[in-house]
């Protein structure tokens, strides 16, 4: 046996050190199934000290590594480094402390996003970031990729809800970044760390901020005979001075898919649906609802429904949350894109995506967080038809370039990972990227931590045909 591996055997007991091909297979890819790579081994630490040991072993043997939670990354962020170590954090899944009075939760990195809100619910509190992967994705992964969700315009992303983190740096040293206070008296080191995609270290303990649950919700579903009208309605809501918790749009193809999957009761013939949700103190929400009603009425919606109960509200959201995996019913394969445009350019972006779809001869379904301009075009293709995957990828690339051209971003919430690193130079200058590299190399001169991600220029790994992730097939995760 490889001497490095036998040393690892001394650090991790059998069952928590995986080296056989059959054991490693589930770790070969994440939710971006187009990429696949074979790690040397997987370790499953159960403590901070074991993470430190694993990282130090990697440094001693110059072996690159990636930390992994549930593997729901849509950008290939938790793809193994070929021949490297996977540090699986799912066993570090304890809630260490819940302090309702101070409104914070301290968790290990493998703790599941949705379980934070479940644990906080008896105290009238919740954890705001709600990526669609939240039933399975872990807080550690959410932190590494600064996950978003449907409520980012008003509440921000993961970074706005993390107070402190205990971090194992790429050289094996441990630091604590941040504190329990919302304020700080020096550079925001934690702010830099969150969203660094596993390149600057591994978190082993995270302090999260909890918010009081809103007292009341007002959820409106509006149907339009044109996508453009839904986009204009969003602009009108914003112009009215309202600040909804969420504004979501689905186009005809996405509506069709969602209906087929979960029968949310959406108007099937609609060309576009807009979901707007107000939330807050009851008297304020009631007053805002009257303004919203007027704005929606003037926006040319041909049908408007207001959820009259919590059940009706959840039904409206069920269709929206199911839309991504539901698109799988319409097509053997699909790619999920994640780009951002300024909200006022939504209409233009959608029109151009429609043109691109026609030019490439591939259907594109659109589901997006309209409130923050975050587009999620789903590009439908058949992997068995020669060249279709490549066409779909080329189309996806054009959409990203379009987002940058319109003044937006190549990713709103999925991160750069493997998938988008080639597009970083379209958003950042060589000097910008070099500065980020300098920061990375200062902390990780050997470039061991999640090597090959975020920065352009590294070799792509093996590319077998894509298809749904096993967890996705089982309906456990959704691509968003």
């Amino acid at each position: 046996m490889n001497p490095a591996l036998s040393e690892l055997q001394g650090l991790f007991p059998p069952g928590r050190l995986l080296t056989r091909p059959g054991e490693l297979a589930p770790y070969a890819s994440d939710a971006l199934t187009a990429f696949r790579a074979q790690p040397l081994a997987v370790v499953l630490p159960e403590s901070h000290e074991e993470v430190v040991e694993a990282v130090r072993w990697c440094v001693r043997h110059r072996i690159p590594y990636v930390a992994r939670g549930s593997g729901t990354s849509l950008s290939g962020g938790s793809l193994p480094v070929e021949g490297g170590l996977v540090i699986g954090l799912n066993r570090m899944n304890r809630l260490l402390r819940l302090d309702p009075k101070e409104r914070l939760a301290v968790v290990e990195p493998g703790f599941i996003n949705l379980q934070v809100s479940q644990a906080a619910a008896p105290y009238g509190l919740y954890y705001a970031p709600d990526p669609s992967s939240q039933p399975v994705s872990t807080i550690g992964g959410n932190l590494a990729f600064n996950s978003g969700g449907a409520h980012c315009l008003k509440y921000g992303m993961t970074s706005n809800h993390v107070l402190a983190a205990r971090v194992v740096l790429p050289d094996g040293q441990t630091v604590v970044l941040g504190s329990e206070s919302l304020e700080n008296t020096g550079p925001d080191w934690l702010g830099l760390f969150v969203g660094s995609e596993g390149l600057l270290g591994i978190v082993t303990e995270i302090t999260l901020r909890l918010l009081p649950k809103p007292e009341a919700y007002h959820t409106v579903l509006a149907a339009y005979d044109a996508l453009e009208k839904a986009g204009q309605a969003v602009a009108a809501v914003v112009a009215s001075g309202l600040l909804p918790g969420a504004m979501e749009i689905m186009d005809a193809l996405a509506i069709e898919a969602a209906e087929a999957a979960v029968q949310a009761g959406y108007p099937r013939e609609a060309r576009a649906l807009l979901i707007v949700e107000l939330e807050g103190e009851a008297p304020q929400v009631e007053a805002e609802a009257r303004y919203l009603e007027e704005v929606i009425r003037q926006s040319g919606a041909y049908e408007v429904r207001v959820a009259q109960s919590q059940e009706e509200r959840l039904k409206i959201w069920r269709g929206r949350k199911a839309a991504f995996s539901a698109v799988g019913r319409l097509s053997p394969d699909y790619l999920v894109q994640d780009g951002v445009v300024p909200r006022s350019k939504l209409g233009q972006a959608l029109a151009e995506i429609e043109n691109l779809s026609a030019r490439y001869g591939l259907r594109v379904a659109n589901v997006f967080h309209a409130g923050d301009g975050n587009l999620h075009p789903l590009i439908l293709y058949n992997g068995r038809v020669a060249g279709e995957l490549e066409r779909a990828e080329a189309l996806a690339g054009e959409i990203l370039q379009l987002c940058v051209r319109l003044g937006g971003s190549i990713t709103g919430e999925h991160g750069v990972g493997m998938e988008k690193k080639a597009y970083m130079p379209s958003m950042f200058t060589p000097e910008d990227l070099e500065a980020m590299q300098r920061i990375r190399q200062a902390l990780d001169p050997l470039e061991l931590a999640n090597r090959g991600k975020m920065f352009p220029g590294d070799h792509p790994p093996h590319r077998p045909p894509s298809g749904p992730h096993p967890l996705e097939k089982a309906g456990v995760i959704a691509r968003e």
Partner: protein, 356 residues
């Protein structure tokens, strides 16, 4: 103080030249936080006021982009014309504070209670690092996950990781109407208990301040037609009517607090904390004028005595502070926040310590 004449760049290129030409630099915007912007030990002063003006503002985007030397007051006035505001409520508007100085000092005000502080609203940054390189991070849209979050890193960076030249912020619609309730309690314990109850409730306050010894100042905001009902609910939650401020007097009350002048003379210090630390702190702070903001997460205080004493006092409490006005060898006082992550990142952006 300064051994050389101040430099007054009017372009990013001139900032780059200055960094390359001088061994040690200290940036200054409006000078409203002199402890952070006064050159020391041979530093050359860089007056950033020449990099001024709003670059992009489309109210429907909720985004404003401006050069770092732009006064806050100029941005606030422009936003107000469109019914919007800077939700982190930065201090020192009338003292000429700039966007860049506010970010570098990492300062927010009472209304950060509602939606968050300056770190929660910064979207993008352009800076010149310690080698004179021009670097951008973040973007100009409200949601973005591309690359390292350099904008957040700059919050509280005190000009030591880079000289800020352009900044992008998320902004929000301002509340259409506001009112303020002042509620006095017999003892600190009771005030704190109510503070915790409020902070954990769905009542949405624009400000939740504690004025020692035991008074809470609460600001409600939103649609005017909903405000009376919400005020009534708040009063019943508190179990007492409190003292109400409304209309122009209410707006003037908060404007009057913006310069922190109500704290009086002495060194002006910001302390980061949580409400849990307040009882112990209250026992040792003596007569120093002070006010706790944002449900006990932020303390501004005026210190008449020696700053060394406050430094020791904060250390004993396990807290960190930042001197904004007053003479201290180092503006960062209290517990030492230095660690290896910080040292390495600082060395990557300013290897020769020109900005240190």
């Amino acid at each position: 103080m300064s051994e050389t004449q101040p430099l007054r760049p009017t372009s990013v290129a001139e900032v780059q030249e200055a960094v390359r030409a001088y061994p040690r630099l200290r940036a200054r915007g409006g000078g409203s936080k002199p402890a952070l912007s006064t050159p020391q030990n041979g530093q050359t002063l860089l007056e950033m006021g020449g990099l001024r003006g709003v670059v992009e503002y489309d109210p429907s985007e909720y985004v404003v982009v401006a050069r770092a030397g732009t006064p806050l007051a100029e941005v606030a006035a422009l936003l107000a014309q469109h019914g919007q505001y800077l939700p982190f409520d930065p201090p020192f508007l009338a003292q000429g504070a700039t966007l860049g100085g506010t970010v570098a000092a990492g300062l927010s005000g009472p209304m950060r209670q509602r939606y968050g502080g300056v770190r929660d609203f910064i979207l993008g940054v352009e800076l010149v690092d310690g080698e004179g390189r021009r670097i951008r991070g973040g973007g100009k849209v409200v949601k973005n996950a591309a690359g390292f979050d350099l904008p957040k890193l700059m919050v509280g960076s005190l000009g030591r990781l880079g000289l800020l030249v352009e900044l992008a912020f998320k902004v929000f619609p301002a509340p259409k109407a506001t009112c303020t309730l002042e509620v006095a309690f017999p003892r600190l314990e009771e005030a704190l208990e109510t503070l915790y109850r409020l902070a954990g409730s769905p009542i949405e306050l624009y400000a939740l301040d504690l004025v020692p010894p035991a008074t809470l100042v609460l600001r409600l905001g939103g649609l005017s037609e909903a405000l009376p009902a919400r005020l009534e609910r708040l009063q019943s939650f508190l179990g007492q009517p409190g003292q109400l401020r409304e209309g122009e007097a209410e707006v003037a009350y908060w404007q009057g607090l913006n310069d922190l002048g109500h704290l009086g003379a002495g060194a002006l210090v910001k302390v980061a904390l949580t409400a849990r630390r307040i009882p112990a702190l209250e026992r040792v702070l003596g007569p120093a004028p002070r006010r706790y903001l944002c449900a006990g997460n932020l303390l501004y205080l005026a210190w008449e005595g020696k700053l060394e004493e406050l430094d020791a006092l904060l250390k004993a409490q396990g807290l960190s502070g930042l001197v904004l006005r007053g003479t201290a060898p180092q503006p960062q006082i209290g517990i030492d926040l230095a660690q290896v992550f910080a040292r390495k990142v600082a060395a990557a952006l300013d290897p020769q310590g020109r900005l240190a």
